[in-house]
Amino acid sequence: MTRESLFNIVMMSLLILFPLWAWIADEPFMITLATKAVILALAGVGLNIALGLGGLVSLGHAAFFGIGGYAMGILASHAQSYSPILESPFLIEGTKSMPVIWLVAIISSGLAALAIGVLSLRTTGVYFIMITLAFGQMLFFFSISWPAYGGEDGLPIYVRNGFPGLNTLDPIQFYGICFAILAVVLFFCARLAKSPFGLALNAARQTAERVETVGISPYRLRLAAFTISGMITGLAGALFADLNRFVSPTMFSWQTSGEIMVFVILGGVARLFGPVVGAALFILLEHLLGGLSDYWHIYLGLLLLLIVLFARGGVIGTFAGKGANHD
C-alpha cells in the first residue's frame, strides 16, 4: 500500500468519524461545517478532472457551481410557491425531490460545460483561462440581472428538499447524503484515472502531439473531461444551495472559481483526495481564523504561497511523497 493510499484511508475515516463525534456530542454546527467541506470538496473533485488529469486551468468553474445552485433554487422555489416553471407549450413544474434536482443540475451544468468547452478548448494557456473566466462572469452578471429569481439579492428557499426515506433536515442525515455522493464520485474518479480515457487524457496533458499521432483527438478528450468536470461541480452546486437553502450570484463569481481551484492546489493537483484535503483545510481555517479577523484570507493566501513555493504536490504531496502524476 502506498503512503498516499494510507493517507486517503485516514482522510476517509476522518470524514466518517468527525461528523459521528459531532452527532454524539450534539454539535450540529460542526456537522454543518463538515457538510460544507464535503460539498466544496465535491466541487474541487470535479475541477480536478479538468485541471489535474487534463491540465485545463479553468477559472470559470463557478459557472457550473452556480448553474447547479440555480437549478436547485429555481425548481425548489416553484415547488414552494406552487407555480409552474413553464405552462406552454408543455407544463414544467418545480420539485422538492433531491434526486430530480441533482439530475437537472448535472444535465444543465453538463450542457453548459459542453458549450463552453466547445468554444474555449480551441485555445490554450492564458487564453483558455481568460475565456473560461469570461463565461463565468457572463453568467454572474446574468444572474444579477434576473429579477425573477432574486437578482442581486439571491433566492432563499424556506424548506430543505427531500430524499426518499430520509429526514434531510437532520444535519447528520443530510451529511450522510453528501458524503455518500462524494464517496461515489471519488470511486468513479479513481476508476476514470486508470481507464483508457484517463490514460489518454493524462498523456494529452503531457504531449498532445503524441496522442494525435496515435490517432486520438486531444480536443475530444479534453471536451469530454471538461464536460464531466462541469457536471460534478454542478452537482456540488445543487447540494451547496440545499445546504444553505439559498442561492445567489456569488456562486457564479470568479472568487468562487478561485476558491475551488485553491482547494485543488492546497490538497494536491491530480491527487484523488487533493480537493478533499484542500476543502477541509479551507473550512478549518475559515472556522479558526474567521473568528479572529474578517481578513482571514490573508493567512490562506500565505499558506497557498508557501505550498506553491515549497510543496508543489500540495498537502498530500508533502505527506505522501511524489506521485505518478505531476506535482
Binding site: 493524462n202 498523456a203 490517432g215 483527438s217
Partner: protein
C-alpha cells in the same frame, strides 16, 4: 510496378520570405526504405510535419494508400495507417513505459472513451503493447518510468509506440539521433526487417545507416528535392556531393 503507399505531390510551404518546401514530390513504395537526407535547415522536418498532418501545406497534396489526406488532421491520418516517430521524443514522461505503448494500442484499437475498466487490464491492448516492447527490446523496462529511460531507450520506445499502430507506412524523423554506434547498429538491423511490414520514409543524418538501409534516397536542399535515386546514384551524383555529401576521395 510496386504500389505507392505514401506520396506527396507538389508540396510547398513558406514562412514569410523563407520557402521551407518547394514543390516537393516524393513517393514511398511498398517494402522499401526511402531516406530523406539533406543539410540542417533543408526543410526535412517541415516536410515530415506536412506529411504527418501537423502542418498544413500552402500548396500540393499528400496521398496515403491512394487517398488524398491533405485535408485530414494528424489523428485522422494516423487512423488511416500513418505511423510517426519524432526527432525529439514526444513521450508521456510521467507515465510508465507500458502506459506509453498502451496508449498506442488504444489509438489503434478500441475507443478511448471508456471510463471504467482499467486500461492496463485490457488483455488485447496489453498483448499488443507488450509485443511492441518485446520487438524493440524494452520488455524488461515495462514498469519503468519513461523519464528514467536513457536517450537510446526513449528512441526505442518511440519506435515501439509506432509499432502498436500496425501502420501502412512509417515516417521516422531521425530515429538514430544520439544513439551511439552500437545503438545505431541494432536499430539499423531492426528497421531493415521492418520494411517488409510497412515501408519507411526515413529522415536521418547517420549516413552509414542511410546507405545500409535505403532502397532510394531523396536529397532535400533549401526545401527542394535536388535528386532521387539509389544509394549508388546518390553517392555519385555531383550535385548532391557538392551540396551535401562532399567529396569522399
Amino acid at each position: 510496378m510496386t504500389k505507392v503507399i505514401l506520396e506527396t505531390r507538389g508540396i510547398s510551404k513558406s514562412f514569410g520570405a523563407l520557402q521551407a518546401s518547394k514543390d516537393v514530390s516524393i513517393d514511398l513504395r511498398a517494402g522499401e526504405i526511402h531516406a530523406l537526407i539533406g543539410p540542417n535547415g533543408a526543410g526535412k522536418s517541415t516536410l515530415i510535419k506536412q506529411i504527418a498532418g501537423s502542418l498544413a501545406p500552402d500548396a500540393g497534396q499528400v496521398f496515403l494508400n491512394g487517398q488524398d489526406v491533405t485535408a485530414l488532421k494528424t489523428a485522422a491520418r494516423a487512423k488511416r495507417g500513418l505511423g510517426r516517430t519524432f526527432q525529439i521524443s514526444a513521450l508521456a514522461m510521467e507515465d510508465t513505459v507500458l502506459q506509453n505503448v498502451t496508449l498506442g494500442a488504444l489509438g489503434a484499437g478500441a475507443s478511448p472513451f471508456q471510463f471504467w475498466r482499467a486500461a492496463l487490464d485490457d488483455q488485447a491492448m496489453r498483448a499488443v503493447a507488450e509485443d511492441a516492447l518485446q520487438r524493440v527490446g524494452l520488455q524488461d523496462h515495462a514498469s519503468a518510468m519513461t523519464a528514467e529511460l536513457s536517450h537510446g531507450q526513449r528512441r526505442q520506445l518511440e519506435v515501439a509506440v509506432a509499432l502498436t499502430l500496425k501502420p501502412r507506412a512509417f515516417v521516422m524523423d531521425e530515429p538514430m539521433a544520439g544513439l551511439g554506434t552500437e545503438g545505431s547498429k541494432r536499430l539499423t538491423v531492426f528497421l531493415d526487417g521492418l520494411r517488409a511490414e510497412a515501408p519507411i520514409l526515413l529522415v536521418e543524418h547517420d549516413m552509414d545507416a542511410v546507405f545500409a538501409l535505403a532502397d532510394r534516397i531523396s536529397v532535400l536542399v533549401y526545401g527542394e528535392v535536388i535528386a532521387t535515386g539509389t544509394v549508388h546514384e546518390i553517392r555519385t551524383n555531383p550535385d548532391v556531393r557538392a551540396a551535401y555529401l562532399g567529396d569522399e576521395e
